[in-house]
Amino acid sequence: MKPVGFQFAQPETLAEATRMLRDPGEDTKIMAGGQSLGPMLNLRLARPEKIISIAGLSELRVVDEGADFIEFGAALRHAEFEDGSLPEPIDGMMRHVARGIAYRPVRNRGTIGGSLCHADPAADWITALTALGATVRIVSAKGDTRDVDMTRFMHGAYRTEVNSDEIVTSVIVPRYSPSAVWGYYKTCRKVGEFADAIAAWVADPVKRYSRVVFGATAGAPIISVPLSQQIATTGEVPGKDVIKTELERLAPGLDRVKQHLLAVALQRCTKQALNHD
C-alpha cells in the first residue's frame, strides 16, 4: 500500500508557497501535517501529482497575542496545544480538545490548520473552534488575505471555503473572560478513533456569548441558537427530548442513534461546563 509517485515541494517562506499556488495545476495538494492525507496517499485514494508541504513554514508557526484574541499559526501542532505550551484563550479547552485527537504520534505531526482544511465532520477542531467563535485567516496566491468565520468555513464533508489557490495561515480565537465556561464531549468506540458524536458549549457572561455546537454529523458542525439561549439563561442541562426536538429541526432525518448520542453528548458537555459532574 504505497502512494502513487508525486513531486514534493517544501517552500521556505509563505510567499514562496503562495507563489507556487499561482498555477497549482489540477492535482496539487497542500500538506500540512499529513496525518489524514498520509493514509489516503498510501491507500491511493488521493493521487496528487504534486504535494506542497507547508508544515515547516515559520510564518505559520507563530502565536500572536492580542488583547481580545489570540492568533494561532495554522501549522501549530495538536501536541503543542495539548502540552499547554501555547497561550489559552479560554482556560483548558484547547488543551482538552487537542488531547482527544487521535494518538500522540499523530498529534506530534498533525496541525490545527491541516485539520480544519481536511474538514472531516468527525474531527475535533472543526467543532471546537466553531463553538469558540473562531475566525480562519486565508491567504491567496495573489497575496490577498481574507478572514472567514468558522460558521461559514466548512461547507460539508471534506469541503471548505478554501480555494485551491489559497492557504490557511492562522486561526484567530477570541479571548474569553475568567467567568467563561466550556464543555466538550465526544463519544468514540475506541480511544482516538473517529467520533460518533460531538457536542461543545462555550459561554461567557461578560461577553454575553453562548454557543452550542454539534459535530460528527454528515457535514459541517451544527449550531443551535435556541439551545445556546436556553442553557445560558437557565444554567441547566437541557432535557434529552428538548435537544432531540431541536436536532429534528436542525438536521431532519438524522439516524435516531446518532441523534440520541448527540443529545447525550450535549448533556454531558453541559454538565462538565456547569461543574455538575
Binding site: 504505497k2 502513487v4 493514509p39 491511493r44 475506541k190 480511544v191 442513534v257 440520541h260
Partner: protein, 781 residues
C-alpha cells in the same frame, strides 16, 4: 527448579525482538529481489471476461493464462455429501469474492509493482452476489460454484433422542444468535518470499506460516513438483491465530513467478488486503431450542447451525471444519442427554473460511452460555448455580459426552466455584442493586467452556481430511561443546515455543535453557511436523522433544558411565553434568569424547550417538480437554451503549504448566481477542458484497483502554494421557469472552428489558435495543 518444566523463565525469543534483530519475511534481503502486488477482484461475484496487460509489462504481470501448470486448490474431504471447490491462485473464468487475486505484478519495489497493477485493466461481468448465508441457502439462489446444484459445502445431522427432554421439560427456551464475520489481524500479515536455489535444485519458500511442513506439501502438490524440490522456511512470524495455518493462493503464485523468472519474488500482505481478502472467519448463525426442568437442569438441546463459510475451501482443513466442530462441541462442558443438531456450511461470495483461535467454539460457547443464562432467568435462579449444576461433575471423569467427546480429566464445577468466589458474586449482587437505584447498569456474566486441544489422528480422520496429523517428531542433540540443540518442525509465532520446548529439553537434560538452542520452522533442517494449530504445539512438539530428550539423557548416561567407570543406572544428571555420587563429568567432556575423541569411547559404544529423533503421539487420539470459567463485571452506559469493564477474572486448568508466565500471556491475549469478538470486531458488507471495513479505522481492534486488567487463577489437573500431563492452552481464552461479556451485558440491562444476542455488542446495537425497548414501553404505557 532450574529452567525445566514449570519454571517462569524469560523467553529466548525476546532478545532479537527487542533489539530489532528479528527477521520477518519483509525483512529479508536478496539480490535482484522483485516485490509483488496483486490485481484483485473489485467485485464479489462475476465472470472474468478479460485481463488486459499493457504490452510493456508482459514479463512483469502474470495471470491465470500464464499459470497453466498450477493446479487449483481443491481440498477434498470424505465426509458424505461434501462438495469440493476449486480455487485458482489467480482467478480463472470467475471471481467469487472481493479481493480474490486476478493478476500478480512484480517490480523492484512494492510501489512500482502497485504502479503496474494500476495499469492492468480487468473486465468483469457482474453476477448477483451472495452476501449472507440465508440468501445463499434459499432455493433459487444463484450458484457460487456453477457445477454445484446448491450452495452447500456440507450438511451434517446429529439426531439424538429428544423424547425425554420434550416430554419432561417445564421450561423451553428459544433463541437465535449471530456472530459476526471477523478478520484475525495478526500484526504481521501474510508474506512470502520464494527463490530458486540453483545449487540445491530447490524452490525455497520463506513464508509467514504456522505450518511449514504442510506448506511444503501443498506447494509441491499444486505446483506439481516433487517435495524434494521444495524447501519451506518460516522465519520470525508476527502472529498467526490460525490465519497462517493454511496454504495461501499467494504462496503458489509468488512461487510460480520466482521459479519462472529465476529471481527472488516477495509479496507482503498489507493491512487493506488483509481486511478485505482475509476477512475469513467466525460467522455463525444459531437457532436453538433448549429444554430444561424447573431448576434449570438442561434436558435437551435442539440446534440448527449455519456457518457462512465463503467461497472456497481452504487447504487442508476445508470449509467444513468449522461446522463439524460446532455441531460436535455445542454441548460443551455440560452433561446433556438429549441433543439434536443440524449444521450447514454455506458458500457465499466472501473469502473462504479459515480456522481462527478457538475454531467454532467461540461461537458455540457464546450460544450455549447465553442459553444457560436465559434458562436461569426463566427459572429465576442465579446463572452461576444453574451453570454449575449442569456441568459434567469431576466425579464423572473421564466422561464421554453426548456427541462422543472423551473428556479426559478435570473438575469443571471447581472452575465456576473459584470464579464465583474470586469475582465476589454476593457482594456484586448487592452493589448491582445499589447501582441500579442510581441509574447505573452493572452486570455480571460467566462463560464456561471445555476445549479439545491437540486432537489427533482419529479426530482429523473422522473429519475426512486428506491430511491427518500423526506422530510429531523432534530432534534433540548434544553438540560437541556440550550444549543442546533442539530441532522441531513445529513453529513459534508468538507462543514462545522456542522457550517452552527448550524447557522440556532442559527438564530431562538439566542443562540451563541459555545453553539450549532451538531451531524451528525450516523443512530443510527439522524433522516432519504438521505444525502449530489446534492448541497442539506444546502437547505435540513438547511431547516429541520430551521423548527425544529422555532418550538422549539415557544415552548421555551410558557414555558418562563409561567415563565415570560405573553402570549407567548409577549415573544421574544434574546441572548439565553427569554424576556418580560426588564425582561428575561435564556434558562437554561426554560430547567431546563422542565427536572429537572417539578413542576414549567404550568398545561397544551405542553407535546411535548423541543425536536423537523421536516421534510422539499422546496415548489417546481424541485430544485432551482444557477448561476454564471466565467471569466479567461490566458497566453499560445506557445513554451511549458503551461497555466498560470493572473486573475480569479467569479460572483455568490446562494441565501441567510448562512456563506459567507464557501461559498467562496466552490467556491474556486470548481473552483480549475474545473481547474483540464480543464488543468490537465485525467485517461489514454492503448488499453488493463490498467489504466496508477496509481500514483499521473501520474495523476496530480493542486497545489497552478498552480492555480490562485481567485476573487469573489456576488449577493443574495433569492429563493422564500426555507427556508431563500437558494440555493445550493457546486457543482457550479466546473462546469464553463472547458468552461471559454478553451475559454480563444482558444481566446489566435486564431492568430495561433488553437482551442482546448478537456479536459484537457494539454501542450502536446496544443503544438501538435500549431505544427500541424504551419506545415499546412508551407505546405500552
Amino acid at each position: 527448579m532450574g529452567t525445566g518444566i514449570g519454571a517462569r523463565v524469560a523467553r529466548k525469543e525476546d532478545a532479537r525482538l527487542l533489539s530489532g534483530q528479528a527477521r520477518f519475511v519483509g525483512d529479508l534481503k536478496f539480490p535482484r529481489l522483485l516485490e509483488a502486488a496483486y490485481v484483485r477482484s473489485p467485485l464479489a461475484h462475476g465472470r472474468l471476461k478479460s485481463v488486459t496487460v499493457p504490452a510493456k509489462y508482459k514479463d512483469r504481470v502474470f495471470t491465470a493464462s500464464d499459470l497453466t501448470d498450477v493446479l487449483p486448490i481443491r481440498p477434498e474431504s470424505s465426509l458424505p455429501g461434501y462438495k469440493a471447490s476449486e480455487h485458482y491462485p489467480l482467478a480463472k473464468d470467475k471471481v467469487r469474492f472481493v479481493g480474490e487475486c486476478i493478476a500478480i505484478c512484480v517490480a523492484p519495489t512494492r510501489a512500482e509493482a502497485e504502479d503496474i497493477a494500476d495499469q492492468v485493466v480487468v473486465d468483469i461481468d457482474p453476477l448477483p452476489p451472495l452476501v449472507n448465508a440465508a440468501d445463499a441457502k434459499s432455493k433459487d439462489a444463484p450458484l457460487v460454484h456453477d457445477d454445484w446444484d446448491d450452495n452447500l459445502f456440507l450438511t451434517t445431522t446429529f439426531d439424538g433422542d429428544m423424547a425425554f427432554a420434550e416430554k419432561n421439560a417445564t421450561v423451553v427456551i428459544e433463541r437465535e444468535y449471530n456472530t459476526a464475520r471477523q478478520c484475525m489481524n495478526p500484526m504481521e500479515g501474510k508474506g512470502t518470499l520464494s527463490h530458486w536455489d540453483e545449487k540445491a535444485g530447490q524452490l525455497v519458500v520463506y513464508t509467514s506460516t504456522q505450518v511449514p511442513h504442510l506448506i511444503r506439501t501443498g506447494v509441491a502438490q499444486y505446483l506439481q513438483m516433487d517435495q524434494g524440490q521444495v524447501r519451506v522456511i518460516a522465519p520470525d512470524v508476527g502472529g498467526g491465530f490460525g490465519y497462517k495455518c493454511v496454504l495461501q493462493p499467494e504462496e503458489l503464485s509468488v512461487s510460480w513467478v520466482a521459479r519462472k523468472l529465476r529471481r527472488p519474488v516477495r509479496w507482503v500482505e498489507d493491512r487493506r488486503e488483509h481486511l478485505v481478502a482475509g476477512a475469513n472467519t467466525r460467522q455463525h448463525h444459531y437457532k436453538i431450542k433448549a429444554y430444561a426442568d424447573d431448576r434449570g437442569k438442561l434436558l435437551g438441546l435442539d440446534a440448527e447451525i449455519t456457518v457462512d463459510v465463503g467461497a472456497y475451501s481452504v487447504w487442508p482443513f476445508t470449509a467444513c471444519l468449522e461446522a463439524a466442530q460446532a455441531g460436535g462441541n455445542l454441548p460443551g462442558p455440560y452433561a446433556l442427554e438429549g441433543y439434536r443438531c443440524k449444521t450447514y456450511s454455506v458458500a457465499t461470495n466472501k473469502p473462504g473460511f479459515t480456522p481462527y483461535r478457538g475454531v467454532a467454539r467461540p461461537g458455540v460457547c457464546f450460544a450455549m452460555e447465553l442459553t444457560i443464562d436465559a434458562i436461569a432467568r426463566a427459572v429465576g435462579r442465579e446463572p452461576a448455580d444453574v451453570r454449575r449444576e449442569n456441568l459434567v461433575p469431576g466425579s464423572a471423569m473421564p466422561y464421554t459426552n453426548v456427541t462422543g467427546k472423551f473428556y479426559d480429566s478435570g473438575d469443571y464445577q471447581h472452575s465456576i466455584s473459584e470464579a464465583t468466589k474470586a469475582i465476589g458474586l454476593e457482594a456484586f449482587r448487592k452493589r448491582q442493586k445499589e447501582a441500579r437505584a442510581q441509574g447505573r447498569f452493572l452486570g455480571l456474566g460467566f462463560g464456561t467452556f471445555t476445549e479439545q486441544s491437540a486432537h489427533g489422528t482419529k479426530v482429523f480422520a473422522s473429519w475426512g481430511l486428506p491430511l491427518v496429523p500423526g506422530y510429531e517428531q523432534a530432534m534433540v542433540k548434544l553438540t560437541p561443546s556440550g550444549s543442546v540443540e533442539v530441532r522441531s518442525g513445529n513453529h513459534s509465532f508468538g507462543q514462545g515455543l522456542e522457550t517452552t520446548i527448550g524447557q522440556v529439553a532442559s527438564e530431562w537434560l538439566t542443562v540451563d535453557i541459555s545453553k539450549i538452542n532451538v531451531v524451528m520452522g525450516d523443512t530443510g533442517m527439522t524433522p516432519y511436523s504438521t505444525g502449530a494449530y489446534a492448541s497442539r504445539g506444546m502437547v505435540m512438539a513438547g511431547g516429541a522433544v520430551s521423548k527425544a530428550a529422555e532418550e538422549l539423557a539415557a544415552r548421555i548416561r551410558v557414555h558418562a558411565a563409561h567415563l565415570l567407570q560405573c553402570d549407567a543406572e548409577d549415573v544421574t544428571l544434574k546441572g548439565g553434568k553427569a554424576w556418580r555420587g560426588a564425582a561428575s563429568v561435564d556434558f562437554a567432556d561426554i560430547a567431546r569424547a563422542w565427536y572429537l575423541r572417539p578413542d576414549q569411547l567404550d568398545e561397544d559404544v551405542d553407535t546411535a550417538g548423541l543425536e536423537v529423533t523421536q516421534g510422539y503421539k499422546p496415548d489417546i487420539d481424541t485430544g485432551v480437554f482444557t477448561y476454564a470459567t471466565h467471569a466479567a463485571i461490566v458497566e453499560v452506559d445506557a445513554e451511549t451503549g458503551k461497555v466498560s469493564f470493572e473486573d475480569y477474572y479467569v479460572f483455568e486448568d490446562c494441565g501441567r504448566r510448562v512456563n506459567p508466565m507464557i501461559l498467562e500471556g496466552q490467556t491474556y491475549g486470548g481473552a483480549a481477542q475474545g473481547i474483540g469478538t464480543a464488543l468490537f470486531e465485525e467485517v461489514l458488507y454492503d448488499p453488493s458484497g463490498q467489504p466496508l471495513t477496509s481500514t483499521l479505522a473501520d474495523y476496530i481492534l480493542p486497545g489497552p483502554a478498552e480492555l480490562p486488567h485481567f485476573r487469573l487463577g489456576h488449577s493443574e489437573t495433569p492429563s493422564p494421557y500426555t507427556r508431563h500431563g500437558i494440555k493445550g492452552v493457546g486457543e482457550g481464552a479466546a473462546i469464553a469472552p463472547g458468552g461471559a461479556v454478553l451475559n454480563a451485558i444482558n444481566d446489566a440491562l435486564e431492568p430495561l428489558g433488553v437482551e442482546i444476542n448478537e456479536l459484537p455488542a457494539t454501542p450502536h446495537k446496544i443503544l438501538s435495543a435500549i431505544i427500541d425497548a424504551d419506545h415499546q414501553k412508551e407505546v405500552a404505557g
